[in-house]
């Protein structure tokens, strides 16, 4: 286990404490001074089905979890059936001895195709033991522990009923894994104390942890030693829903409306927990977080709020955006700053609410009838999400238009350790606000100006009474069907797309990774970036040089900057988590460039660095196909 980054996985039934286990492990790592990146996979029912949590850890922040982990902690037998096939030579599994006898037939929730595949690959009358034997054969170390026995011993020692002790199964499994990896017991104990406020729970979990460490020692496990940095910096542990929420608060959010939907709800729920936010000057802020009756209302309430001049936003997922299409057009027609945070999930329709996909890019760009300006941007990581959430409001107000900020389910379950965000790094830019002189004629919300932006008129300010409308209008906001005004208004609205590309710095629109002269160019957007960075590092080890460009502003499309990035590339690969390769078609429509390869994944599971690197290696070796699909039947 000499890799600088370690890939850990825990699997078990939804509701059996997988989340808590992962939290515990991640926190312990951070306490040890390590950086972590987690990823959670689960079914969209409430309880019972299989779920797993990946955590990558390292001295340097990991950018991707792996499809093929180095350590699997299996809470139950189903986890072994599902994940053992993904364990490769040199990796380790910790299993409960009691589950070794489990047979395939006994699993109620295993999906039929996986059952068939397992039978096909491993033969009939399949048991966990048989799978472990096979894994051992390929060089996987399987450590099976008599969990029941150990728990009985803990119960005895603590003089507590074994039923209680059994509830700490997740802690026990985490601790066994921790011991194996060489994670300091102290760190785990400290993390545990934070997670369990009640003394009786603490006592039980403390005993469980130390029992696990003693056991590993006693059994002479081949325990590693985690490289721990000298100083452990304070880190926030959060996912992108939280960093977006924090970014919105930093940006001075006035109102957020929402209708619950996975995986967007968490952002609004988090905001609801902070009805009062401290200010550096004077009174605290009271952002209003408003649950409404549907997404149409969510958009409309936010738009109503934006009309008063406050920073207003809503957060939703694909089905919600579908319902917001009409309101989006109203905002565009009214040159109204508004932020829509879109957490993409597996589509189409209700689709796969708890799985990831980058399936809404072209819809975000084209949602709403008719032609109106909007800005579509995408964040790649928990950290970017914070600063981008701040920028989103700046863009909305500088250019007076709705901004769609794209994230995805993967980012909502990417538990990352990050240095505390600097809320002053992004200066707040509110665009041009009108200061109507008293006694002037009627205020003109759509005034023609030299640059095509009209000073903004918040409702309720002295001397600023005005009209707004979704009907075509003149400068005053009154309806007109005059062809000349119509043409000028269409041109005025459209002009800000070019203005955005002119005014924004290149690094706001796209970012480069890797060496500028690397021959293989990966082009992508959003959450794949981490896997791409990871893959570039892996490729390098194999002697292949690759670089990447991450397109951050997708509409208006930064064609000039992208064309510059394309220059010199020997081969281009578009990487996307969708079926139709939406960025590739956008790229072709906006630059004429047809990428040499597509690497796509649309199983609803995120693209990981290790699997991506394998596909790219084929490409780098000249063996890649034009369209490559990342598939993994066991995920």
């Amino acid at each position: 286990m000499s890799h600088p980054i370690i890939h850990w996985r825990i699997g078990g039934a939804q509701g059996s404490g997988i989340d808590k286990a992962a939290q515990l492990f991640a926190r312990a790592c951070v306490h040890s001074g390590l950086a972590v990146l987690g990823q959670r996979e689960y079914h969209s029912n409430i309880a019972g089905r299989h779920s797993y949590f990946d955590i990558a850890l390292g001295v340097e922040p990991p950018t991707s979890v792996a499809e093929y982990p180095q350590l699997l902690v299996a809470m139950d037998g189903e986890s072994l059936f599902r994940h053992l096939p993904m364990m490769r030579s040199g990796t380790t599994v910790i299993a409960n001895r009691a589950s070794l006898g489990l047979t395939l037939e006994k699993l109620p929730y295993l999906d039929a195709p996986l059952r068939e595949k397992l039978r096909h690959d491993y033969g009939n009358e399949l048991s966990v033991q048989k799978m472990i034997d096979s894994a051992t054969g390929r060089g996987v170390t399987c450590l099976s522990v008599d969990i029941e026995g150990e728990q009985a011993r803990i119960a005895e020692q603590l003089e507590r009923p074994s039923k209680e002790v059994k509830r700490a199964l997740n802690t026990l499994m985490v601790a066994l894994g921790g011991a194996l990896l060489g994670l300091g017991e102290r760190a785990l104990q400290t993390a545990m104390t934070k997670l369990f406020p009640r003394p009786e729970h603490r006592q039980l979990n403390a005993a469980t942890i130390s029992h696990a460490y003693r056991l590993a020692e006693a059994q002479n496990w081949p325990c590693g030693e985690l490289a721990a940095p000298a100083r452990a910096p304070a880190r926030l542990l959060l996912d992108a829903t939280q960093s977006v929420a924090l970014g919105k608060l930093a940006a001075g959010l006035g109102l957020q409306s929402y209708y619950p939907i996975s995986p967007a709800t968490e952002e609004s729920s988090f905001l609801e927990r902070y009805p009062s936010v401290a200010s550096r000057e004077g009174e605290p802020f009271h952002p209003r977080i408003i649950q409404v009756e549907d997404e149409i209302a969510a958009l409309s309430v936010a738009a109503g709020a934006a009309l008063t001049g406050v920073r207003a936003a809503t957060a939703t997922s694909g089905p919600g955006l579908s319902l917001m299409a009409e309101g989006l057009g109203w905002a565009g027609m009214n040159e109204l700053p508004l932020v829509i945070t879109l957490y993409q999930r597996g589509g189409p329709s209700t689709g796969m609410p708890t799985r990831t996909e980058q399936g809404d890019l072209l819809f975000a760009i084209h949602a709403g009838h008719g032609e109106f300006p909007r800005l579509v941007m995408a964040s790649a990581s928990t950290e970017e999400a914070f600063y981008d959430a701040m920028e989103a409001f700046n863009y909305a107000e500088r250019f007076d238009l709705p901004v769609i900020h794209l994230l995805d389910k993967m980012l909502t379950t990417s538990l990352a350790s990050v240095l505390p965000f600097d809320s002053q790094r992004v200066p707040i830019e509110r665009g041009r606000i009108a200061s109507p002189a008293a006694g002037e004629a009627r205020a003109r919300p759509f005034q023609f100006t030299s640059d095509g932006l009209s000073p903004r008129l918040p409702l309720g300010q002295p001397g600023s009474a005005h009209w707004r409308t979704g009907v075509e209008h003149g400068e005053s906001g009154l309806v007109t069907e005059n062809p000349q005004i119509r043409e000028r208004m269409m041109e005025k609205r459209a002009a800000r797309l070019a203005m955005i590309l002119d005014e924004l710095p290149e690094e706001a629109m796209l970012r480069h990774y890797g060496e500028a002269d690397a021959p293989l160019l990966l082009i992508s957007w959003g959450s794949n970036l981490g896997a791409i960075q990871d893959a570039i590092a892996r490729l390098e080890k194999g002697g292949h040089r690759a670089r990447a460009v991450q397109i951050r502003i997708l509409w208006p499309f930064p064609s000039t900057a992208v064309e510059k990035a394309l220059a010199g590339a020997q081969s281009t690969v578009v990487v996307e988590a969708n079926h139709s390769a939406q960025l590739a078609s956008l790229l072709q429509s906006q630059t004429g460039h047809h990428p040499d390869h597509l690497v796509v994944k649309y199983s609803g599971r995120p693209i990981c660095g290790d699997a991506l690197a394998e596909a790219l290696e084929l490409i780098a070796n000249g063996n890649g196909e034009a369209r490559m699909v990342l598939k993994n039947p066991y995920e």
Binding site: L236, L249, A278, S279, R280, E281, V292, T308, L459
Partner: protein
């Protein structure tokens, strides 16, 4: 607080001439709103009138206050959003029966649940005016407008009955051509500290030739009583005082329910319910204030929140 200049209805007139059909009831409603706003005494820029889509929805263009022409069916959430963000605004939402009860139905029934202080004026003309004469949800089963190929196969919705069931805390009904009492009703609705709905019976001479001005003015052939009658003159009182107990509230609601079921020969006008027992939504918070210092740096301090997410 503000010094209130003395205003009159003219101060709320817009330079824009209304392009409704001659004889349209909307003219009467417009005038009543102008009078009520003058009586309320808030300057035009402190008033925001939101319109739905329909002939009715054009009203904001004809007022000197701020006027927002929103989307079909969405006038209530737009209006609520503005009021939530800037509680100092006086907010009115105006829309047609189609806008409110068809496409806007989900908002209609949810809009009053926070009892936010806005006034919603619903123009009941029995028809989709702007789209040229289809049945609105207020057209009754079997009625057929001259623009319809067949009689309506749908029972009507009763706006105020639905509003009662949805918890609006002030319910009133006026008639577009009884200007004085209508203006008074608009003013009462505006002054009510919660979500008020005012239904206005609004003749559409162009498309509704059933509920015409003449029809509304008819008296009963036997009794000689007018079709439209004022509730107040019949001893009806819809006031629920702030401290009312459940029994009082339920009795008032039952009386209201009975009156709301009257239609056809006798149609009551006036205030059906004025429920002061429900808490109004808090008016604090919101508002447009500085979020950055002069250098553009965010004023928000997130350290308190970070503390909860931070390790170690």
């Amino acid at each position: 607080m503000h010094e209130q200049p003395i205003l009159n209805a003219k101060d709320f007139q817009s330079p824009q001439a209304a392009d409704w059909c001659a004889g349209c009831g909307d003219f009467g409603i417009l005038k009543a709103i102008q009078q009520a706003l003058a009586a309320l005494g808030r300057p035009p820029e402190q008033v925001a009138v939101f319109g739905g889509i329909g002939c009715s929805g054009k009203t904001p263009y004809y007022l000197s206050s701020s006027g927002i022409h929103t989307l079909h069916g969405r006038v209530l959430p737009f209006a609520l959003g503005a009021k939530l963000a800037n509680p100092a605004l006086s907010v009115i939402a105006v829309a047609g029966d189609g806008d409110g009860l068809s496409i806007g139905g989900a908002h209609f029934i949810n809009a009053a649940r926070r009892n936010i202080d806005i006034t919603y004026i619903l123009y009941n003309n029995g028809v989709y005016g702007l789209t040229k004469g289809q049945a609105a949800p207020t057209l009754h089963l079997g009625e057929q407008l001259h623009t319809m190929a067949l009689p309506s196969d749908q029972a009507a919705l009763n706006p105020l009955l639905l509003a009662l069931a949805s918890g609006y805390s002030w319910l009133g009904r006026g008639y577009a051509y009884e200007g004085k009492s209508l203006a008074r009703l608009v003013e009462q609705a505006l002054r009510h500290p919660g979500t008020a709905i005012l239904e206005v019976l609004q003749p559409c001479p162009t498309y509704n030739r059933i509920q015409t001005r003449e029809w509304y003015s008819e008296t009963h052939p036997q009794s000689g009583e007018p079709r439209l009658y004022p509730l107040a003159e019949h001893g009806y009182d819809g006031l629920i005082p702030p401290d009312a107990d459940t029994t009082t509230i339920q009795a008032k609601q039952a009386a209201c329910f009975a009156r709301l079921n009257e239609w056809g020969e006798h149609i009551p006008l006036g205030v059906f319910l004025e429920d002061l027992s429900r808490p109004a939504y808090p008016e604090d918070g919101g508002g447009n204030r500085a979020i950055a210092d002069p250098a553009g740096k965010s004023l928000a301090r997130l350290e308190g929140i970070y503390a909860q997410l931070q390790i170690p």
